[in-house]
């Protein structure tokens, strides 16, 4: 793939790094920070990133499994995160050509609706199932904003192993 920022071709991705990063994101999500609405969901950041960049390795099914884990961890209804993670993974895969062509900051702007969907999905499902809307639950939108702000950082960290070294051999440019 071409890194559109620098114009260089990226190195092939190491699948182990993908799974390692997903595992790290899962661990970060398990940190006992407390029940605050704004804590970013590292896992969805990672899932969206890899679905956009390498949808052959990370697909909707991976997202589903990881979502199931988050359901159990958060003691939510089984399938709540699983469904919204896989929904978002699908959206990310279908948008991946469009998103990759943009600059990092407009990528973040484009991904904001996706993150909003993930954050507000539990509140919406609760609304549908029990008939009462929790306005306080809508503060989860802050989480989506923070995730969008973290997107450039995620881009930098997760793409780092694939970026070419800076000292390009001028005798054999590629």
């Amino acid at each position: 793939m071409i890194d559109l920022e620098s114009g260089y071709i990226l190195r092939p991705v190491n699948p182990l790094f993908i799974y390692f990063s997903l595992f790290c994101a899962l661990l970060l999500n398990l940190l006992p920070i407390g029940n605050y609405g704004w804590v970013p969901d590292w896992l969805i950041l990672c899932i969206v990133f890899w679905n956009i960049q390498q949808h052959r390795y990370v697909n909707v099914f991976t997202a589903f499994i990881l979502g199931l884990m988050m359901d159990v961890h958060n003691s939510d209804l089984l399938g709540l995160h699983a469904f919204c993670y896989s929904l978002v993974a699908y959206v990310a895969v279908s948008w991946h050509r469009r998103i990759v062509a943009l600059t990092v900051f407009s990528q973040a702007l484009h991904l904001l609706p996706i993150f909003l969907l993930v954050s507000l999905f539990p509140v919406l499902v609760h609304w549908i199932l029990s008939g009462s809307l929790y306005w306080s639950g809508l503060t989860a939108a802050i989480q989506a904003l923070i995730e969008a702000l973290l997107w450039p950082l995620a881009n930098r960290i997760l793409l780092a192993p694939q970026r070419r070294p800076r000292d390009v051999d001028h005798n054999r440019p590629l």
Partner: protein, 280 residues
Amino acid sequence: MLIDFRFKALDPIRNNVNWILRPLEYVMMMPRSLYEASSEYFTTRGTLDNENQTLKVRQAELSLLANQSEFLMVENQNLRELMSLQKQVPFKTLPVEILFNPSNPISQRIVINRGSEEGLKLGNPIANDAGILGQVVRLYDHSAEVSLLEDRDFAVPVQVARNGLRAAVFGSGRGNPLELRYLPVASDLEVGDILLTSGIDGVYPPGFAVAVISKIERNLDKNSSNVFCTPIAPVNRYRQALAFLYDPKIDAKAPSETNKAGASSTNTPGRRQTRARGMQ
């Protein structure tokens, strides 16, 4: 989602995933534990001295009370026997540690480090030294999930400590104050009244503090009053709590012949649906 919501049939899956996930959760709790351990290690001698002093005073007070309460308890049981009333059910306590509270925009829950292997049962109340925290709503082998008082439609039968008025405290969702529902305008309530568990439902042992009344709005035209309370036990301050292994059915009287005909067998006291309506 619907399958889980309606039939609760997916518990095996949940159990298995939990079995994989729990070690990871323990690993991720290590930084926090390390931080806490180090900050405890570096507390100065002065603060420890102070703490020791207050604890000693507290212990003296408590042991005095305990001596007296044992005497009172024996007396009470004897009197109850004389009056042929039902005896107070003794119950065991199980020290538990609060592991973490999972993030959820709607409800507040905590996960504790004891489960069905340690004798915990569905519906057991959890309390700390100040008062009731909540109730076990989902059991795993070595951990359990506890629903807190402020969960929506979480009901606890209570009694006003001052005058013995009985009522029920309802949770009304995360971040909202608890409510005392179904009370007429003329009921004798004051701001600052302490609500104790009444023990009617057979889930909570009687006499434990639950909440304090913080605000009363009386609607004369609707003949109802909105009473708001705040829970007594702080949730996020301590890591330790107690689970009450309380089962009043052990000592319940056999139903008399007249009662037996009327009451249906499903409506036994001490058993109730522990999962509240709606998504938790």
